[in-house]
Point group: C2
Chain length 367, copies 2
C-alpha cells in the first residue's frame, strides 16, 4: 500500500487497541515506534518531542519549533513549542479539556519527561504501551518481512566477505577484524551499526565481548556477532571462524550449538509459546551436558529495532503468530576456554518458519 495509507492503517489499528485496553492516549517519544507511526526518524534529546494518538484516532506531533521542518512530510497535525517555553506544561494544558486518565508511553520514553509530566498532569496515570505498540510491531506484514529478508541477505554478504578476505584472521587482533567487518557493513549499505562483537578463544566465552587487542592465534575459535540497519530494517547474525583445526572438544561444542539451533528452528510454528522455542534448544544442550554454559535467552525479536518483542525466553508465554520475526541463537560459553554461538533471523510462516539468513552455518575455516 502507499506509504501514507500504511501509517494511517497503523494508527487506526493502534487506536482500536487503545480502546480495547482502556487507554486514553498513546505518547511516543523518539524511538523505533515513533518511526512506525509517522515514517519519520527522530533522535531522543533534551528537547521534548512526541507522537500523540488518542483513542478516537486523533493523531498529532508535538515537537520543538525548529524541528518542525523535519516532520512536514508526515501528513500529521504539528504543534510546536518555542525554546523559552516549558513544553510539558504546554502539552498538559493542551489536553486539559479532554478526559485523559490512562496514558501509554513507549518503553524508551525518557524518565525525566515522565517525572515532569507527572507534575504537569497529575491526573494522568502512565502505563507501558506494550499492549498497543509491541503487539502491532511484533507481527510483520509481507512487505516488512521482505525488508527484513533483504537486510538479512546483505548481512550474509558481509559474512561472505569476511570469509573471503585474503588477509585471513590468524595474526590479526580482534579489533582489526572488527574494523574489517565495519568496513564491509558500510560498503553493503548498513547505516546504523549497534554492535560488532568479536571474541577469540577465551574472550568468546563472554557473549558480549566487544573486541580487544588480543591477537588471534591458529586453532582459536572467533565468535563474530554483528547487527546493522539496512534500508530501515535491522539485520543480525552470528557465526564462528577458526584458522586451522580447533580442539576436537570444540567441534563437539559447536555441533551441539548447531543441533540446538536446528531443533529450535524446527519447533517454530504458529501457536507455540515463545518460551517453548527456548526450552527446545536448551533441552538439547542440557542433554549433551553443556546446559550450565548456555547463559542467555535463545532469541529476540527484530525489526525497526535490533531488539524488540517477542523475546524468546523462559516465562514468555506469547503464542507465536505468522509474521513474527526473531533471532534463533543458542550458545555455549566455557569460561577460560571458548564460546560458540550461531544466530539466524527467522520469520514465523503459516506452518513453520523461514530462515532470513542463509549464510552457511558451518564453522568457517579461514587462514
Amino acid at each position: 500500500m502507499p506509504a501514507s495509507d500504511l501509517f494511517t492503517d497503523r494508527r487506526h489499528r493502534a487506536a482500536r487497541l487503545l480502546r480495547n485496553a482502556g487507554l486514553d492516549l498513546l505518547l511516543v517519544g523518539p524511538s523505533p515506534s515513533f518511526r512506525y507511526f509517522t515514517g519519520c526518524h527522530s533522535v531522543a534529546s533534551e528537547r521534548f518531542a512526541a507522537f500523540l494518538l488518542d483513542s478516537s484516532e486523533q493523531a498529532s506531533l508535538f515537537v520543538p519549533r525548529l524541528q518542525a521542518p523535519l516532520y512536514e512530510n508526515a501528513g500529521l497535525e504539528i504543534r510546536t513549542w518555542n525554546e523559552e517555553e516549558a513544553p510539558l506544561a504546554r502539552l498538559a494544558g493542551e489536553f486539559s479539556a479532554r478526559d485523559i486518565h490512562r496514558v501509554a508511553v513507549n518503553d524508551e520514553f525518557w524518565a525525566g519527561f515522565l517525572v515532569g509530566l507527572t507534575a504537569a498532569a497529575p491526573r494522568w496515570e502512565f502505563v507501558s504501551d506494550g499492549a498497543v505498540t509491541a503487539r502491532l510491531r511484533m507481527c510483520k506484514e509481507p512487505d516488512e518481512i521482505a525488508g527484513l529478508r533483504a537486510a538479512a541477505r546483505r548481512i550474509d554478504a558481509v559474512w561472505a566477505r569476511v570469509c573471503a578476505a585474503p588477509e585471513g584472521i590468524a595474526g590479526e587482533t580482534e579489533l582489526t577484524l572488527r574494523s574489517r567487518i565495519e568496513t564491509f557493513m558500510r560498503d553493503e549499505g548498513f547505516t546504523e551499526i549497534p554492535w560488532i562483537d568479536v571474541g577469540a578463544g577465551a574472550n568468546g566465552a563472554s557473549p558480549l565481548h566487544h573486541g580487544s587487542t588480543h591477537v588471534i592465534v591458529r586453532g582459536e575459535p572467533v565468535v563474530c556477532d554483528f547487527a546493522g540497519l539496512h534500508n530501515g530494517w535491522f539485520a543480525d547474525i552470528c557465526r564462528v571462524a577458526v584458522a586451522g583445526p580447533p580442539d576436537p572438544e570444540y567441534l563437539r561444542v559447536y555441533e551441539t550449538v548447531r543441533a540446538a539451533q536446528e531443533a529450535a528452528f524446527r519447533a517454530v510454528r504458529p501457536g507455540v509459546p515463545a518460551e517453548e522455542i527456548d526450552r527446545v534448544g536448551r533441552a538439547l544442550i542440557n542433554g549433551r551436558g553443556y546446559g550450565a554454559f548456555f547463559t542467555h535467552r535463545i532469541g529476540h525479536g527484530i525489526g525497526l529495532a535490533p531488539h524488540e518483542e517477542p523475546y524468546i525466553v523462559e516465562g514468555n508465554t506469547t503464542a507465536l503468530r505468522p509474521g513474527m520475526v526473531f533471532s534463533n541463537e543458542p550458545g555455549i560459553y566455557v569460561p577460560g576456554r571458548w564460546g560458540a554461538r550461531i544466530e539466524d533471523i527467522i520469520a514465523v510462516t503459516e506452518d513453520g518458519a523461514e530462515r532470513l539468513n542463509t549464510a552457511s552455518r558451518d564453522l568457517a575455516s579461514l587462514n
Copy 2:
C-alpha cells in the same frame, strides 16, 4: 588523579548532594552519567542495567549476568540477574530492608523501567537527578577541560580539511559534503557522530536540516554543523561556507551573527546568569532587525554528552561558574532564503571565558 580516585571522588560528592537534597538513592541507567560515575560505557537496552548509589555512599552495579564481564574493571560491587528473572522485582527486593523513599533517576532512564519499578517498589518516589548529576557534571575539572579542548581542536582540524578539499562545494550535493565531513571526522578520531547537518541556501534556514540531494550552487551559503565524540569528550562546531560571492544582504546577516556571537562571548564570566548570555546575543540581533529570525536558544552545555546542562536559554537563571563549558551559537534563519550560524564551544574561566574552538570565524570562501 588516578582514574579510580576520580570515580570514587565523583561518587563521594554525589552522595553528599543526595543527602543535601533529601534523596535516598541515585539510580542511573546506561547514559553519559553512568560513564561519569563508573568509567564504563553502557548502551541502554531492554535488559535492565543500572548504577546505584545510596546516600551513605554505598555504590554498586545491577546488570544482566552476561554483561558482567564488561564492568569488571569498574571496581564496584556487581549484582547480576539471569535472563529468566524479573530484574525490577529483584532490585526492589534487594532494597526492601533499607529505608528508601526518594529515588533520583537520570533523565534518559527508560520510562518502561520506571513504570515497572513503580509497581515493584510502590513506596519509592521518583524524581529527577538534576540536583545531583547535572550539578556535578556541569562544572568541569581542568583535566576534563583539557579533554574538551583537545576534542575541539580535532573538530577544528576537520573544518580546515573541509575548507582545503580540492573538490570544493559548488556542484556537490549536500549529502556528498556530509559524507566528506564524516570521512574527515572518522579520520581525525571521532568515534560517535550524533549529527552532521549540511544546509545550502534555503535549506540552511532550517537549523536542523540534515542534508539532501540538493546540488550546491555558487553564491549559496552552506551551513555546516557537526558534532562527535573524541577520546571520551564531545566536540561541536558550526561554520558557513560559500562558493563565490554571496548576496550582499547575506554578508550583513553573517556579520550580525558574528557580532552577536562576539558580544555573547564577551558577556561570559562567573556569576552571570546563563539566560543573560542568550539575552546579550539576542539583543544585538534584535537591534539589527533580525530578531524574529533567531529561533533557538544561544547554547547548550557539552561534555560526556553532546547536549547537557547548562542550557543557555531564557529562563535559566543558573549563575555561570568557572569550568562550565557550553556552545555559543547564535543564528539567523530567513525562510526561503538562507541561514547563518556560528558556533564555538567556550569554557568559563575565573574572569571570563576561553574559546575551545579556534577555527576562523570568517565566512569560508571555497570553490
